[in-house]
Symmetry: C2
DNA sequence: CTAATATTCAAACATGCGTTTAAATCGAAC
DNA sequence: GTTCGATTTAAACGCATGTTTGAATATTAG
């Protein structure tokens, strides 16, 4: 029989309904009914509703960040030092392609990601950010290589600008050409990053740790 | 007696708890207890929990967008055509100052705003965006004036990048110097906007309506 | 075939929610 | 001082939720 396993059917239905109605509004009864499984199956296979949410996240983020790192390696091997636009594209394009691809699943999942970011779910945040923190670190290093002499504190702040622009863009519901949006965003971000790279910025630039490692690590 | 009126005490407590736990998790029992009023007072004064949320939003957004427009008028009167950086600062600074001001209330409210954006609450969205759509329109016009010959469709897309960077930055929980963050973001955004202003962009740039008027209007 | 293990199932449990109700209390006007 | 509308109060209603339970059913192993 081509019937998917119970776990996967639960994950699929949960992803759809979490993204559509939010974590707390999507009930396990809705989810299990949409998945065509019994209500208690969630607790049997995942333990709790919260654990189910985490499992939904893990399944997608693994694939996304793997695609990002793969494209980053390619960008790093193509020139020395790496080209800024190539690094940014490796960060931006897989996310946009995933969120706006032909399958609507990716877009739905990105909505879910935005929700989780806004919800500031501490447990989920901690679990996820520790799993994928190294991805953001790798990109920060690559951008620093592409912009020699840049101010690290300013660069980190500007990276948050890029993540914000990307996250917000992904959450937009109308979908048009992914490639052109990605290139617009890459050009926009590259110009912005270079605008602070010439050693301008006379003032303090207080380097407060603790700003990194938030959920942006995942988007 | 210096006791605040019941309505205001409910609004204050609701803003805190909505921002802290989200709309659906913050219960009316929590809110009324924190406000020191009876549970039924919410329905007597506001009608429903949803209407209470809307009232919380209105109270803050009025002040924020008024401050933005005031600073925009000043920027428009200072030079002809207006300077791009001044226009952007009028959009960015009041929001950042409000969200990171000495009172923690502003920051909490910005969290609430992000939540509402992520929640895609249709009713709230419709009510709010229609009330403040003209603010975004005014800023789009001003930026178009500051960048003569710019592509309107591209400009709108880039404006979303700016809104995203701003929203994301506001939601960051650590608070440091507002003025320096604002100027970093303004320089970043100005460079990005100018990067697409020289008539580049040969491809389509399909102008799909319906992209505007989303909740970004409020942030 | 049988025994043991893994999975599914229907039903119930306890809890918290938004909302409603009707009586009690307050504040000013006559 | 009494009356009348506005406000506050305590209690209850109806309902949906996440979770647990224990029996029924599949699945696998010996």
């Amino acid at each position: 029989m081509p019937e998917a396993a119970t776990c996967d059917r639960i994950l699929d239905a949960a992803e759809v309904l979490f993204a559509e109605h939010g974590f707390h509004l999507a009930s396990l009864r809705q989810i299990t009914q949409a998945a065509g499984v019994n209500l208690a199956a969630v607790h049997y296979h995942f333990g709790s509703k919260q654990a189910l949410l985490l499992a939904v996240f893990r399944r997608r983020l693994d694939a996304l960040n793997q695609a990002r790192l793969q494209q980053l390696e390619q960008a790093l091997s193509q020139s020395e030092p790496p080209e800024l636009e190539s690094v940014l594209d490796a960060f931006v394009y897989p996310a946009l392609a995933f969120s706006r691809g032909s399958d609507t699943d990716g877009h739905r999942f990105m909505n879910l990601l935005m929700r989780a970011f806004a919800d500031r779910d501490e447990d989920l945040h901690a679990a996820i950010s520790s799993e994928y923190a190294f991805v953001m670190r790798r990109f920060a290093e690559a951008i620093a290589l592409a912009l020699p002499g840049s101010n690290p504190a300013l660069l980190r702040r500007q990276l948050d600008f890029v993540v914000g622009a990307l996250t917000y863009t992904m959450a937009e519901s109308n979908l048009s050409d992914t490639r052109s949006i990605a290139s617009d965003l890459v050009r926009f971000a590259a110009a912005g990053l270079r605008s602070g790279a010439q050693g301008q910025r006379p003032k303090d630039s207080t380097d407060q740790t603790g700003a990194c490692g938030t959920l942006e690590t995942t988007a």
